[in-house]
């Protein structure tokens, strides 16, 4: 358990952010992920890579979290507040500004496509691994990646047009 935590915790945190978990909730949701890992570790049979198994848990916990947050109309305050409109070019200046900007581009992409996009383009999984994590046929994963990319490019284009 400790080894898994040490080797994967920082990537779990990254994945949760890119999957749409708000800054104020990242600690809580990451904790849920590792409690789930602890509970299910004895069931892990090694048929999949540990990494894909962890991402599948991240996806499920993040999805449950978003659904609960929606159901209780939870109001979440993001930290830090970043006004991406202050950008003057196409490349954000700071680390936090970049994070906020990426999340802004991803926020309008529906969960299925976003998950595939994040796992392939940011987390670096192969498409076969992505399909395994999200639990869909490989061809469906390709379709979602294609659609997700289109949405990402459109969001990027809009952001450029809106910037001064």
């Amino acid at each position: 358990m400790r080894t898994i935590f040490d080797e994967h915790a920082r990537y779990v945190i990254r994945a949760l952010r890119q999957l749409g978990i708000k800054e104020a909730d990242v600690d809580d949701v990451a904790q849920e992920v590792f409690v789930t890992v602890h509970r299910k570790l004895s069931d892990f049979e090694g048929r999949s890579k540990l990494r894909t198994w962890l991402y599948a848990i991240c996806l499920r916990v993040a999805s449950d979290h978003r659904r609960r947050a929606y159901m209780v109309h939870e109001r979440v305050t993001d930290a830090p507040p970043v006004d991406t409109g202050e950008r003057t070019g196409t490349e954000p200046d700071t680390h936090l500004e970049s994070r906020a900007f990426v999340q802004k581009l991803l926020e309008d992409i529906d969960d299925d496509k976003r998950a595939v996009l994040v796992l392939y383009e940011i987390e670096g999984l192969t498409m076969r691994e992505v399909a395994e994590v999200v639990g869909c046929p490989l061809q469906t994963a390709y379709s979602r990646l294609h659609a997700g990319r289109e949405l990402l490019r459109a969001a990027w284009q809009r952001s450029r047009e809106e910037s001064p």
Partner: protein, 231 residues
């Protein structure tokens, strides 16, 4: 790694906007910080292995610590088969601990029977026997006067440790968890410990009532197997 049939990633595709690639590269680098990992390790506490500091530097220390993990982390509650997905939300402890209500709700609702009053206990504090400076003495005294509240995992680790030798204490710790963390992430673990403690105390009827409540609240729990009474 990319497989032969995988499309080029946006980062590697010269046709994609440089600014978009810059953002994706930035997102790849945006892993959890040392502080975030350490904070998470603190929250998970004994689940990661008792007494081990967060190894935020990477995997080198991890492998040396791996051998220690099984006995403590997995012993907190090793489970059998079955899928468990959390449906609870972590909570923060309430500002004070009041007398136990007859029922404490958990998500889903798990009734916690009223307990007889138990002696107040504070966690033992070990202070190294070195000659402290005045400032250090003041700091230690302040800590002793007001011990930090135990985390969810720490409380349950105390319950687990006491289960065989002192099931009353184990039950007290589990019920304290129920009072302080009614919506904690370790509700299932707490209930299992409480039920096991009740059985060890010979309070079988209470144990079965609590086990039935657990079965209703967490029908798919991997802990169900563990809760079956011994034949």
């Amino acid at each position: 790694m990319t497989e032969p049939d995988d499309p080029p990633r946006l980062l590697d595709d010269a046709g994609e906007p440089a600014g978009l690639q810059h953002l994706l590269r930035s997102a790849q680098r945006d892993v959890g910080t040392d502080a975030e990992v350490a904070r998470l390790a603190m929250r998970l506490g004994p689940l990661l292995g008792a007494g081990e500091a967060a190894s935020v530097g990477g995997g080198a220390a991890a492998s040396s610590s791996a051998a220690k993990v099984g006995a403590v982390a997995l012993a907190l509650l090793a489970v059998g088969g079955g899928a468990v997905w959390l449906s609870t939300r972590p909570s923060t402890p309430p500002p004070h601990v009041s007398a136990p209500p007859p029922h404490v709700s958990a998500p889903p609702h798990v009734p916690v029977p009223a307990e007889v009053p138990e002696p107040a206990e504070l966690p033992s504090v070990v202070v190294a026997p070195v000659a402290p400076s005045a400032a250090a003495t003041a700091t230690v005294s302040a800590r002793l006067d007001k011990p930090a509240p135990l985390s969810e995992a720490e409380l349950l680790e105390q319950a687990r440790a006491a289960l065989k030798g002192d099931p009353s204490r184990a039950l007290q710790r589990a019920n304290e968890h129920a009072r302080r963390f009614p919506r904690g992430v370790l509700v299932q673990e707490r209930e299992v410990l409480a039920i096991q403690a009740l059985r060890r105390l010979g309070r079988d009827a209470e144990a079965e009532r609590r086990a039935e409540a657990f079965a209703k609240a967490f029908p798919g729990s991997a802990f169900q197997r563990q809760l079956k009474p011994n034949p």
